[in-house]
Amino acid sequence: MSEEQGPKKTRSFKLPPQLVNTGLVPLLAVLTSMVVGGLIIAAAGGNPFAAYAGLFEGAFGSLNALSETTVWASPYIFAGLAVAVGFKGGLFNIGAEGQLAFGAVAAAWIGYALPGMLGADIPAVLHVILAVGGGMLAGGIWAAIPGFLKAYTGGHEVINTIMMNYIALNLTSFLLNGPMKDPNPMNVVARTPLIVESAHLPPVFPEFRFHWGFILAIGMAVLVWWLLWKTTLGFEIRTTGANLDAARYAGVNVKRTIIVTMLFSGILAGMAGAIEVTALNYRHELGFAVGYGFDAIAIALLGKNHPAGVVLASLLFAAMRNGATRMQFLTQIPVDVISVIQALILLFVAADTVVRYIYRIRSRDERFSLTRGWGK
């Protein structure tokens, strides 16, 4: 901390402090992580340059690679926005994974079972809206429960969303192994039947998997930005997140805001699941959605909880995940190295003091804190 008074440091150029915080520091965090990751690859007997070249080629090397990167990015953007909205409202939604799974289950059910129940075909556009909307609602409700408990009983959302993750896991396992299991005699795994054609969200170009869900994700990012910074509700969410007492004095209905924030966060996470079902897999299968919750936290933090940042961070994570298999194919470096690099990114972003220290960037005294104990 004494560093802040560091004497006689003259810097040759100065960036606006806002840009340093939201742009330069995360960028340096990524860079540092890549360097450390490169060292790990070298220590394991690999060639980091070949590895990163493979990673880049796999992520951006062709039109198809680009398309696949957007396919990876779509759920990351939704889930990252979900966590970011929570953070803005002072809530740590660690349960995006459960909400995502629930959104996917609901969308799949509407996608395959609803026409049969109504006894009629549903027009394509309406069916997609119903399926995605149903997924959003399911995710939203799943997140609103811990929001409600936080608002009215003080039960901390971190522990409650973790518990809700386990409950969601058991519930979806039950549904996918039981009532919702694909009855096709050829099928042996826990998954739903395929959704009907009318519930498909189509790809943008028929020859690539790049789908409208990605464009929707960008749209949601804009919407989240508008909602958080241009509406009264957004103001209330941000005020509650910044200072609970101040929000109360300012006349914000804090309890309602907490529930709405979680609801909104869950809607975004549920949408991630619903889009995966309607635009990509056309069904929900057990085992999908593992790890998205933690990735989403890393993405929200790397994106500094700003929608634009979340989109960029999602693209970065998507490129890494998508390029990883190409990297493995070319260099036989295990894909786990990507997890290590991503964890390091998170470490350096969360503890940006470390990055500022290494690169001698003055720190603005701005602290980001959420945890205020588990109780009330």
Binding site: A44, Y166, I338, A343, A350, W374
Partner: protein
């Protein structure tokens, strides 16, 4: 732990046991069944107890530790690696290798505790985020190293699964072990015994010593503690390191006491359950232990019901679905958090970085 919570916990355990015994008595004598239930409960509860104690130390000092899972996983890996390395490469006898492995696990846990303390006390990073960093890092590092050290052809073990030095032997508690039938419960492995001893020690340390008083002071009211000359940072650092070491011991349970191998992700979320047990037990060592026993009993319940699937009465058929029963502990934790069953009170300064 308040009385109400204690009765609630006892009631749950007894209820779970009674259902199993009622259903199972068609096939097996109740006493044998009870012993089996107790044995399962204790072994499931061991890592949870240690993990929850880790949480108690950290949070009593005011530092939220959500990274218990990652600490356990990393320690499990390095502990196992240490034991195997000593045993196969340097031909150290199995028992000595295993004990060394336990030591390595504790040290690795302590180092991760140090990292967490540095992040949350010195750098004042949000503590939940610090813990999340540790969790994600643990998955990547153990997965990567497991591959490099045990699978790749040019690794020190030549790509072969090394012959493990086995697991820690059981020790019998004198006299008690001689009781017919029930005596079997008193034959346990060292870490299981250590967990129970540590509960008692932790309770003594936290509530009967100056160290404990200071720990609680920095967790409840760091400003006041600082004023009367307690070094808040130092207390927090040490307690988080102790917490890390306890999580490390929990990690050793997986690879050195339970099964002689490491598998990626093998802690399987038990660190998070430990956290729930800590809250369930209201941040007290005995409470955490009791809560760990509830989770253990729930696991025993579920395993046993599956074994008695054939004799479950039709009107209780839903109990056959392990998923349904699997949800119970998590729902219970959420119920506990609402404060319906006795107030759950976290240390006042829990999760708040202290600024001088």
């Amino acid at each position: 732990m308040n009385k109400r919570r204690f009765y609630f916990i006892a009631a749950i355990i007894i209820l779970l046991y009674l259902i199993v015994i009622l259903i199972g008595s068609a096939q097996i004598s109740p006493l044998v069944l009870l012993v089996s239930l107790l044995a399962t409960t204790i072994s499931v509860a061991t890592p949870l107890t240690l993990g929850a104690l880790s949480g108690v130390f950290c949070e009593r000092a005011g530092v939220v530790n959500i990274g218990i899972e990652g600490m356990m996983l990393t320690s499990a890996f390095f502990g196992w690696f240490g034991a195997v390395f000593l045993n196969t490469i340097w031909s150290v006898p199995p028992l000595a290798s295993l004990l060394f492995g336990v030591l390595v696990a504790i040290i690795i846990g302590g180092l991760l505790g140090l990292l967490h303390a540095w992040l949350s006390v010195s750098l004042k990073v949000d503590q939940v985020i610090g813990g999340t960093v540790i969790n994600i890092l643990a998955i990547g590092i153990t997965g990567f190293l497991n591959r490099q050290l045990f699978f790749e052809k040019n690794s020190i073990f030549g790509g072969q699964i090394p012959h493990a030095p086995g697991v820690l032997p059981r020790i019998s508690i004198p006299f008690l072990v001689d009781i017919p039938v029930v005596g079997k419960v008193f034959e346990q492995q060292p870490i299981a015994v250590a967990a129970i001893v540590l509960v008692i020690v932790a309770n003594f340390v936290l509530f009967r010593t100056r160290w404990g008083l200071r720990t609680r002071a920095v967790g409840e009211h760091p400003r006041a503690a600082d004023t009367i000359g307690i070094n808040v940072y130092k207390m927090r650092y040490w307690n988080v390191i102790i917490g890390g070491m306890l999580a490390g011991l929990a990690g050793a349970y997986f690879t050195i006491e339970s099964v002689p191998s490491f598998e990626p992700l093998m802690t399987n979320g038990r660190g998070f359950i430990s956290l729930a047990a800590m809250i369930f037990g209201n941040w007290t060592p005995f409470g955490a232990w009791a809560a760990a026993l509830v989770f253990g009993a729930a696991q025993a319940f579920q395993i046993n019901l599956q074994q008695f699937r054939a004799v479950i009465p039709p009107e209780w058929a839903f109990l056959q679905y392990s998923y349904v029963v699997g949800m119970v502990p998590y729902i219970l934790t959420m119920v506990i958090l609402t404060g319906v069953i006795g107030k759950t009170v976290a240390p006042a300064a829990d999760g708040t970085p202290y600024e001088k």
